[in-house]
């Protein structure tokens, strides 16, 4: 056998063994498959990091674009700054026509409430009176709405509600005749709760503070009824 043939045989044998070795390693060794898996995961992480960096850059670029536009936007702020108080004022100050419309709506609600009150449906009536007070507190029906709501609360036995509403009425309309009547109703609430001394004080206060004959005579009658 020549030397070339021998060398070739040895090399062919080596290549064969190497091939067999690689094939066997692929087939039976789990290390390679893990390494492949690790490599894939690393590549995935790299790609995810790249996507994140790219997104962050897009945001930074957008921020610079916005910064470049800001002076133009800020130049328009002066006019807008004037416009805003103007709009704000317009939202508060309403036209005469709008006032009349609101009065009409308040009147409709109040009349509906009064109708329910007359029919004895105090609960629904009070909801409507509360709406009139909350939405249209400045209309002329507001005092009556307060008074009728107190009456409704009294009829429903909501004595705490009566106390709260009377206090509010005294605060808002201290000189109204209806406030005097409401205070008399509060006196009756005190009588119910057997707080007679407070009731007497209240009737005397009404007698002193309210110059209306009807209120005064009612206060006197209530005081007389309390005498033993």
């Amino acid at each position: 056998m020549s030397r070339f043939a021998f060398l070739s045989f040895i090399l062919a044998l080596t290549v064969g063994f190497v091939q067999i070795y690689w094939h066997a390693k692929d087939q039976y060794s789990p290390v390679d498959s893990y390494q492949v898996e690790i490599k894939k995961l690393k590549e995935q992480v790299e790609r995810e990091q790249l996507a994140f960096v790219t997104q962050a850059e897009a945001q930074r670029e957008f921020r610079q674009d916005v910064a470049a536009l800001m002076p133009e936007v800020l130049r328009g702020v002066t006019e807008k700054a004037i416009d805003y108080p103007r709009r704000n004022l317009a939202s508060v100050v309403t036209s005469g026509r709008s006032d009349k419309l609101q009065e009409m709506m308040a009147s409709t609600l109040f009349e509906s409430g009064k109708s329910l009150f007359r029919s004895g449906d105090y609960e629904r009536a009070n909801k409507l009176f509360a709406k009139v007070i909350d939405r249209y507190g400045y209309v002329k029906q507001s005092i009556e709405a307060h008074f009728l709501m107190i009456e409704g609360q009294y009829q429903l036995g909501d004595l705490e509600g009566v106390s709260r509403s009377v206090a509010k009425m005294v605060e808002l309309f201290p000189e109204s005749e209806l406030t005097g009547f409401a205070l008399l109703r509060l006196g009756q609430v005190f009588e119910h709760k057997e707080r007679y001394a407070e009731a007497v004080d209240l009737y005397r206060t009404v007698l002193r503070s309210f110059p209306y004959r009807s209120v005064a005579s009612q206060a006197e009658r209530n005081l007389r009824d309390m005498e033993p």
Partner: protein
């Protein structure tokens, strides 16, 4: 016979080695989505080694190691970070956070993106730099370099005056992102060096002129001050003489 067998076996071994080398070459770029370079639409690319060339329809980009670029839906290339050589005949532009970079005609531009600025250096032709907030383009001739920073409160990017490029550092960076033949690179580098030299000379002449003007202005100021002092002394002397005359005093 044996000789042939030896050759065949050697060929087989060499082929196996080449397959291994090619496999390692494929990992030179990270792409998201995977293999997106050849498709259209969004594509983020990161170069893991130097001299990674990306052919785009309007020109090509060569990325340095660690450089990240992305291509958007409109096929516009954006430089996120790192160092890029932009070669185009005028149509390709490279967008960055602070400025857009393009060319009027055929040119080669080196663009380096950092966190707070982007540096543009023209190595061939003439670059057009569009800083954010500026309506027009700034012309950057061969051998010049400029820096564009973040947008300032006036709505315009902080733009530096173009100045002569530094040949040494630029040469090294350019080579790290040069994908052509070495001979062609050396030829271009020589041209660039000449352009840098001329830019430096132009800058020097400008600075010399400015220095001369400054010296002349200082000379003028000194002469004016001397004249004023002389006039003031003469005035004082005149007053002293008048005072002596009025009080019948003798000259000292």
């Amino acid at each position: 016979m044996g000789h042939r067998l030896l050759l065949i076996t050697t060929f087989l071994l060499a082929s196996a080695i080449e397959v291994q080398v090619r496999a390692s070459d494929q990992a030179a770029l990270v792409q998201e989505p995977i293999h997106c370079i050849k498709t259209t639409g969004d594509c983020s690319i990161k170069a893991k080694v130097d001299k990674q060339k990306i052919d785009l329809s309007k020109g090509d980009l060569v990325l340095g190691r660690g450089t990240i670029v992305y291509r958007d839906q409109a096929e516009v290339a954006h430089l996120v970070s790192g160092f890029v050589t932009l070669s185009t005949d005028g149509e390709l532009t490279l967008q960055s956070e602070f400025a857009k970079i393009g060319c009027a005609s055929e040119c080669v531009v080196l663009v380096e993106k950092r966190a707070t600025y982007v540096r543009v250096t023209t190595v061939r032709g003439e670059a057009r730099v569009y800083p954010k907030g500026e309506s027009g383009a700034l012309h950057l001739p061969q051998g010049y370099s400029m820096r564009v920073g973040q947008v300032l409160p006036n709505g315009k990017a902080d733009t530096e005056i173009p100045q002569a490029a530094q040949y040494g550092p630029t040469f090294k960076k350019w080579w790290s992102s040069y994908a052509g033949e070495k001979e062609a690179f050396l030829k271009s580098a020589l041209e660039f060096r000449e352009a840098c030299r001329m830019a430096v000379e132009a800058g020097s002449a400008l600075h010399l002129d400015l220095a001369h003007r400054y010296i002349a202005s200082v000379e003028d100021e000194r002469r004016d001050a001397e004249e004023a002092r002389r006039r003031q002394a003469a005035e004082q002397e005149k007053m002293r003489r008048l005072f002596r005359q009025m009080n019948h005093l003798e000259e000292p």
